[in-house]
Symmetry: C2
């Protein structure tokens, strides 16, 4: 791709476009990409989606190693993409830069926090885009925009040169319209190994029950395609607590880390925030240490259990998000309800440190919904290979 | 224990008692044991439960290595125990030697085929006893007689000097009244390793649904004790086919092997058999190779799936047998119904090559029922340690 990319969906950060040509040869040669504006590119401001953050931080001194790896592999950086402020939100709204349009459902939110990266890929502006995911920030926009997205195993991909939100949950992830490109990017940025074929397939009952009927019905056929490859899904209940409790434990642990990471800057700067963001940080500040410690203890127990369950190669399957993207006119309390219902599911991989791929599987009531396949930490390469097989089976993203 | 053991339950093979003193020192010093009469003891006839087998085979030239290991560890052999003829039956009936009495429920079958070993342990005649298990022949009498029993991982314990039934399913197992003794025997006969702590706990839904309500209710408290140690059980459906289909696949594969192992002797000898045994061998002879091959293929797929599920340390929990021991006056068709319903559950570890411990958990309608804990191949030592912990939690077998 050459020339200026016309940003018809509002995916890029306003202002001059950060462009860096990639190597002439390499496994990603000829591919264009974008990066969420919480990754550093040398000489360019990192806005983190918030004008006060941009104002109080100098332009980046260096480029994030994950971006350098992509450039060295031949991909060309075409710009930095919009993010929810400080990555602390799931709808994709940004009142300062503008909320990107969801190319697959323009009357609905694109999902976030990696909203611009998802929109840029879904609109065909770039071949792939980097995002980050703490509580669902790659998986949810992938599901909402009808594209592939991966939340890799925690720690698998470098986060050097990326702004932190909840360091024990933060991961770098990416989006693509094609499962093959999704896998090719993994080939460059993931550590080697973890390629043994996955199975058996486990159908996480509570996550399917948590989905609205239209979502569950829309994804049945996609699950069937995975079953043709891995054999019939075995139903399992994964969460001894309810999903609501899992969400609450995740929320408390994440919130405490968010305040640890960003509270001193917030207290010193008193930044202006768009709707919801300031409230979430205020709640993060108010988390009682004893409750956060208890949440972390429960989360650690869940993590060790789910990891043991998946250690032999089992794959979880469930709807990435329980509902399609909310409409843009959804009132705040409706958004909050969707957020809570969604994060009980996204907390599974978040607390477990698992790798999760969302496949653009189907449409429910006219808007995309994704199917997630989830595997043990370190099995990212096998999971990406499986996603490619499923996509071929379904003739997705061809 | 010294002197002649009074066989008040008909556990031993009639005739002179095969006795061999153990080493004076060792981890099993001071313990008495018995062995199912399909294991060789040098100089002693191995009857395999059938007079024609005894008549057509010379006394054993050597002693089975697993018996030698127990003797070297200090245990004393006090005799050989009754078995279902050629180990091909689950009730424990033997019309030639007499059916052992179930000490825990004298009006009911003791279970088989390792009936004499279970009865000898349950009656307190010996501290532990060796049996063998192809389709449930240790697990079922353990459950019926209210004692501990283990079916080890396939291949973990030597079967040299033991008569074969279905070689790809046959394993040597053992019984004890105490989980500590059960574990101590494992310490002698199992290969080293596999001691990492187990978890999470998975509640196999179809096996609980397959149990009659009285069994499921009786075992709820036992499962609760395991949950106190391993955390709440996660419900899982393990068998994509029904348990009936799993049983049918197991039965066909086992039957074909039984005929391969014993058909030429049966054709040459035309032995007299008690009720049911001859019919089962006739059915085994009639198995079509194509159907057996298909059953074996399905079994292999199940094996790889369940092993992958358990590879990280997960433990399955379910009732060892769906019902307590049938009453002695149960007509043949009733016995057959119990057999089919039981072997859908025992086929899980049989097809999987898994290790399974049955705990003498509770009584249902006045007769014992066992709870099984099941783990991946090679994790026998961890499973025995877990059984000991559960027994301590429940103050069982003290």
């Amino acid at each position: 791709m050459a020339g200026v990319i016309e940003d018809r969906v509002g995916a890029f950060v306003p202002g001059p476009r950060a462009e860096v040509p990639g190597a002439l040869e390499g496994p990603l040669a000829g591919l264009d990409f974008a990066v969420k504006d919480l990754f550093d590119v040398a000489g360019v401001p990192t806005t983190y989606g918030n004008p006060d953050w941009a104002r109080t931080h100098p332009p980046a001194a260096g480029t994030a190693p994950v971006i350098l790896a992509l450039l060295q592999a031949g991909a060309t950086l075409r710009g930095k993409t919009r993010t929810v402020e400080l990555a602390y939100g799931l709808t994709g709204e940004n009142v300062w830069h503008g909320t990107p349009t969801n190319p697959a459902a323009p009357d609905r939110f694109p999902g976030g926090s990696s909203c611009g990266s998802a929109a840029a890929v879904a609109a065909g502006l770039v071949d792939f885009a980097l995002g980050s995911d703490t509580g669902g920030s790659v998986r949810i926009p992938a599901s909402y925009c009808g594209i592939f997205g991966i939340r890799p195993s925690w720690g698998a991909v470098s986060l050097t040169g990326a702004c932190p939100l909840g360091p024990s949950f933060d991961v770098a992830g990416w989006f693509a319209r094609s499962a093959t490109v999704l896998r090719q990017v993994g080939g460059v940025v993931l550590p080697p190994g973890g390629e043994d074929r996955l199975g058996p397939l486990l159908r996480v009952q509570e996550a399917w029950m948590n989905a609205v009927p239209a979502t569950a019905a829309a994804l049945a056929g996609t699950l069937g395609a995975v079953e043709r490859l891995l054999g019939p899904a075995l139903p399992v209940n994964l969460v001894p607590e309810t999903l609501d409790q899992l969400y609450e434990n995740f929320r408390l642990a994440q919130a405490q880390e968010a305040w640890t990471s960003l509270g001193s800057w917030i207290e010193a700067t008193r930044p202006a925030f768009g709707p919801g963001v300031g409230e979430r940080f205020a709640a993060a500040k108010a988390v009682e240490p004893a409750r956060a410690a208890e949440a972390r203890r429960i989360g650690a127990a869940f993590r060790s259990r789910v990891r043991a369950l998946l250690a032999g190669g089992a794959v979880l399957a469930y709807p990435t998000s329980p509902v399609a993207a909310p409409r843009l006119d959804t009132p705040p309390e409706g958004q909050q309800a969707v957020r809570e219902r969604t994060m009980g599911v996204t907390a599974i991989a978040g607390l477990g440190g698992l790798c999760e791929v969302s496949l653009p599987a189907a449409k429910a009531e006219g808007a995309p919904v994704g199917l997630s396949l989830v595997a043990a930490p370190g099995r990212d390469r096998a999971l990406l290979a499986l996603a490619e097989e499923v996509a071929a089976e379904l003739r997705l993203g061809a």
